[in-house]
Symmetry: C2
Subunit: 225 residues, 2 copies
DNA sequence: TTTCATATTGGCTGTACGGACAATGTGCAC
DNA sequence: GTGCACATTGTCCGTACAGCCAATATGAAA
């Protein structure tokens, strides 16, 4: 399995050495002198990982990490720095970095880290593809269908949706059926799971649903319409 | 808001100094010389956090961290060590530690870290209480109701459940209704959200549901019974 | 023995929804 | 103008499920 390793370091001799080492290990290596050079190559879709120096001319390593995450890249990041910096390691790892190594790094240690990073990327990519497939289905919906979809997975009844959208219940059923067909869903549950993977059901949405279950209400009259 | 800070360090003078400092800041402080001393106090339910030295006589800090997690404790852990150790910081942070500080630590820095840790613990505890409440509802179910519950939230129809449990569809309906009442759920969705928070719907379960939607099948005959 | 929780099953009514038969109107692209 | 996608609405039928009326059997606890 060929994997791409992207190395960002301002030290040319380091890039050369690491590049040779990693290519010898069977990786496809791309080197960049600055963070901007790597950002210019986005999006990077091939499986692999990124190796960053913390201290870089211009944009720093952690700043580049933030940009990559903002951009939606799921490439695992391994930090590789010559200056031990515990606070930086804590921040970057908490931000999702895969590893934080100190130069000079023994060859086998770097290869091990890359191996782990790429393995991690694989599982992440599998999930990414799944979400992309769902996204494609969602994008194929018409605007109206999207509205109905959102309300349906929030637990609204056709009747309620009809009222909220100011249309007939029959129309809601029509859109609802289109959504079910386009998503190839055979039950409401399947649609809800798809919605969760699409991030359409936020945590607060689910939370609101649960709160109703956990609070005791002895009052006789329920929902005030 | 009084919060409990648990300090584990084998240096008596350090315990005294930190204890005095934190008490002056308004925290309730408990000090322990060894990991075992803290483990003996479990479970710790009050809001707060734990401060660990990496190097401890007997059980090490990271090992204690592992034990605490195994035990289900959600107390955030701040590591505080005299020997900068990047690999250790990476491992502990990836294992969920809240922070990793180097001795000697400026007083304000430690207090900031504790503040963040306790804030984090609050949100975690809120969620913990919610799950505990759901757990209580789940535990109030009869064995049979639990079986039906599990199958229902996996999307099975009453008919299918009846077949799997070798009982009548009418009986499934009875149990299903009991479950809905005990969970105060007004719709299938609410029950499913509860199940997700209880970890009854594993990721692989949801994944299996999605796969059916993402794979095109043109064959006429569906489920082979 | 009586009581109680649990599990089991039946019938009946109403609602919610899926599926299949439609039709109408609007706006945009060719 | 003619198609086409989209939105809208209608009726009819069947399934799935909630809600309420029950009854019966079993085992454990009082």
């Amino acid at each position: 399995m060929t994997a791409a390793v992207h190395v960002v370091d301002d030290d040319a001799s380091f890039r050369t050495a690491v590049g040779r080492h990693l290519r010898a290990a069977g990786y496809e290596v791309f080197t960049y002198e600055t963070a901007a050079d790597l950002l210019a190559q986005l999006p990077l879709t091939a499986p692999g990982c990124v190796i960053l120096d913390v201290k870089l001319p211009g944009m720093s390593g952690p700043e580049l990490q933030r940009r990559l995450i903002e951009h939606g890249t799921t490439l695992p990041i391994i930090f590789l720095t010559g200056h031990p910096d515990i606070p930086a390691s804590v921040r970057t790892i908490k931000a999702g970095a895969e590893d934080f190594l100190i130069k000079p790094v023994p060859g086998h240690q770097l290869l091990d880290a890359i191996e782990r990073a790429i393995a991690s990327h694989h599982t992440g990519q599998a999930r990414g593809h799944e979400i992309a497939a769902l996204r494609a289905l969602f994008d194929a919906l018409t605007p109206r269908e999207r509205e109905v979809f959102r309300l349906v997975v929030h637990g609204r009844l056709n009747k309620q949706i009809a009222h909220e959208l100011d249309i007939t219940e029959r129309t809601v059923k029509a859109h609802r059926q289109s959504v079910m067909e386009k998503f190839k869903a055979h039950s409401l549950l399947e649609l809800v799971f798809a919605a969760e993977n699409l991030g359409i059901l936020s945590r607060s949405d689910r939370h609101a649903m649960l709160e109703r279950n956990l609070t005791e209400r002895s009052s006789g009259s329920d929902r005030g319409h």
